[in-house]
């Protein structure tokens, strides 16, 4: 039986090294490039006809666009409009990464903690900068809720600080863990199908269900990643 974590292995395709730093073009990078091409092609070609009554593809592109637009309007407010391109890019990058990972023999870059952490830390740093830029030092009030007795500061401030700083980790680990575990389950199940011969029909049926579930998770996790980013952005713009 194949090692279920084999699928997550990084393989350098074009070795690049600049100043002693390894910047090789790997299979992970390849799939990121593919995701960029797929996302851009899908979103531009589908609306090429500019149909008044949209077809199937145009409809999907419009739904994604309006979905993210509504998400920002509902969770961030009108000030969130200027962050729409970033949030939409974030959503598409994670969504396409997750869905491409569902295609057999592909590589799922969102199953790598460093990738999800890279995305999460950009959100975290960006949100913190926006918070301080809008509110100055007043943004530090984030760590001490209004109306709480001053004496509780000694407990509340560390708790709030830890909860604030753990945001990028929870964001990164949630996506990474969901993707990794899903793919391991699929791989293990597929191994059972092969190993059990005729009786492989049982894990095969299970595999079908899990695959559908994984598609749902792929979309859901992209949504969760994006909406949490929106909520953090809302906190930074409006405070609590």
């Amino acid at each position: 039986m194949a090692n279920p974590v084999e699928q997550f292995k990084i393989q350098p395709l074009v070795p690049i090294e600049i100043g002693g730093t390894n910047l090789s073009f790997t299979n992970s990078a390849l799939w990121m490039v593919i995701a960029v091409v797929v996302a851009t092609a899908f979103l531009t070609l589908s609306v090429r006809s500019r149909a008044l009554v949209p077809g199937r593809w145009q409809s999907m592109a419009e739904i994604l666009y309006e979905f993210v637009a509504n998400m920002i309007r509902d969770n961030v407010g009108t000030e969130g409009r200027k962050y729409f391109p970033f949030i939409f890019t974030l959503f598409m990058f994670v969504l396409v990464g997750n869905l491409l990972g569902m295609v057999p023999y592909t590589f799922t870059y969102t199953s790598h903690i460093i990738v999800t952490f890279g995305l999460a830390i950009v959100v975290f740093i960006g949100v913190t900068i926006i918070g301080f830029a809008r509110h100055g030092t007043h943004y530090l009030r984030m760590f001490f809720p209004h109306g709480a007795p001053l004496a509780t500061a000694i407990i509340l401030v560390p708790i709030e600080l830890i909860s604030y700083c753990s945001r990028p980790f929870s964001l990164a680990i949630r996506l990474f863990a969901n993707m990794t575990v899903g793919h391991i389950i699929l791989k293990v199940m597929a191994g059972f199908v092969v190993a059990l011969g005729v009786f492989g029909i049982v894990p095969m049926a299970f595999l079908g269900g899990v695959t559908i579930l994984e598609f749902g998770i792929a979309v859901l996790q992209a949504y969760v990643f994006t909406i949490l980013s929106c909520i953090y952005l809302h906190d930074a713009i409006h405070m609590h």
């Binding site: 292995k9 990084i10 790997t26 990078a29 609306v47 949209p54 419009e62 939409f88 790598h112 903690i113």
Partner: protein, 163 residues
């Protein structure tokens, strides 16, 4: 697990950065304005159609108001005409009746005059007839001949008594 092997961390972060920035640029400059334009265009068209429908509705309502106004006006006009015609006819018939009355009363008056004249005439004749009868009766009975003046006086006295 390969995820926890830091060997490829830098390259992954580097390519993540590159691809993410490229995707951001492509979406924000190419895809999103296109989709946004399509959605805006549709919204504009829907609004346009709604505006047009509202305008047509207003026009229809105006036309209905005009029609009703015209209807009311013509109804009023018809009533005026009817009333005028009725008045004219009443006036005319009244006049005609008056004329008729006049003529009839004139005729009645003329008739009465004629009757009066005939009566007078008849009464005159009666006097002559009475005188003549008195003369013949006295001549037959007595054989005397009376003079006309006495007979006339006696007739007049008898007529006066009979009245």
């Amino acid at each position: 697990m390969p995820q926890f092997d830091p060997t490829f961390y830098t390259t992954q972060l580097f390519w993540l950065f590159v691809t993410f920035v490229v995707l951001y640029l492509l979406l924000s400059t190419l895809a999103m304005p296109k989709i946004g334009a399509v959605l805006e265009e549709r919204q504009r068209k829907i609004d346009d159609n709604l505006d047009k429908a509202a305008q047509l509705k207003a026009e229809a309502e105006q036309a209905i108001a005009l029609y009703e106004k015209a209807l009311a006006e013509s109804r009023a006009q018809a009533q005026t005409l009817l009333r005028e015609a009725a008045e004219a006819m009443a006036r005319q018939s009244e006049e005609r009746q008056k004329q008729l009355n006049d003529r009839l009363s004139q005729q009645v008056k003329a008739g009465e005059a004629r009757i009066g004249a005939a009566k007078d005439e008849a009464l005159g004749h009666v006097r002559d007839v009475a005188a003549e009868a008195a003369r013949s009766i006295t001549a037959k009975l007595t054989g005397a001949t009376l003079d006309d003046a006495r007979i006339a006086a006696a007739v007049a006295a008898a007529l006066e008594e009979g009245r």
